[in-house]
């Protein structure tokens, strides 16, 4: 598992180009930018794992490729980023610290078969 451009706290190396400030941003927002290394890309299986994990969060979850920013809890929204090769996950809320790590791990997984344990089992 590899991650690139890991950001700590609220500072970011890459600002989504057109993302407006969101009302939730005054909370505890954490971001991770991840390069997609799965040879199948950001396909439906990691999208579903991501959405399921995001839905477990109390926090708001967004995912962006730098120009399109979507609700991380919606599989259909996530699918709009299927061809992205680099994605930034943004988590805002009380469980952001734990959530951002596990969501970034899903994005960074080299294979859907090596996904972290399903949320239902974990």
């Amino acid at each position: 598992m590899r991650m690139s451009d890991i950001n700590q706290g609220g500072s970011v190396m890459k600002q989504p180009a057109t993302a407006p400030p969101e009302s939730a941003m005054n909370g505890n927002t954490l971001r991770r930018t991840v390069t997609i290394v799965n040879p199948h890309g950001f396909h439906m299986r990691p999208q579903m794992y991501f959405a399921q994990r995001a839905q477990q969060c109390q926090s708001d979850v967004a995912l962006t490729d730098g120009s399109t920013r979507v609700d991380g809890k919606s599989p259909l929204d996530l699918m709009m980023l299927s061809t992205a090769q680099e994605l930034t996950v943004e988590v805002t809320g009380p469980d952001a610290a734990e959530a951002v790590e596990s969501l970034a791990a899903i994005l960074a997984a080299p294979s859907a078969d090596e996904e972290p344990p399903s949320p239902k089992k974990g």
Partner: protein, 154 residues
């Protein structure tokens, strides 16, 4: 990209007869076969591949839609079809809801990019509630094709 770029018009199923997961998938594959695809291939092989993918995780992504798919060497470009179920089909969807709109995608073995681009295109359309509503109200292949031939809003 428009959905009409890869959906096979003659294989559209305006009203599915099947009401269960396996039957629906088989009906969609048969529809593509009747439209001239999968020559020299046992269609059951394709049905099995799609069902095998479903075992890894349902493609019922919620909001009454499902996007079953597989890669298969019997196609040299990505093809698909759209099928509608007025009664709804239990599909182990993420939100527990039945599926009324199916988009089946079959892509060549070695072109993941084509599949991902199609997923992006399909998702942009299916996120549009007005589009899905119009699809579900369509009763003919021609009406469905006309909707698929529209471009997604920016």
């Amino acid at each position: 990209m428009r959905m009409s770029d890869f959906v096979i018009r003659e294989a559209i199923v305006p009203q599915l007869g099947a009401t269960a997961k396996e039957g629906v998938i088989r009906e969609m594959v048969e529809s593509l076969r009747n439209a001239g695809y999968f020559k020299g291939t046992d269609p059951e092989d394709i049905v099995k591949a799609i069902l095998k993918r479903e075992l890894l995780g349902s493609t019922g992504i919620g909001r009454n839609v499902a996007i079953p798919h597989t890669k298969h060497n019997s196609v040299d470009r990505l093809i698909g079809t759209v099928a509608l179920s007025p009664v709804g089909v239990a599909f182990d969807s993420l939100d527990g809801e039945p599926v009324h709109v199916f988009v089946l995608l079959i892509s060549p073995q070695d072109r993941p990019g084509d599949h991902l681009r199609a997923l992006e295109n399909v998702s942009r359309r299916l996120r549009d509630d007005a589009f899905v509503k119009a699809l579900r109200q369509a009763t003919s292949r021609e009406a469905i094709w006309s909707l698929l031939d529209e471009t997604a809003p920016p």
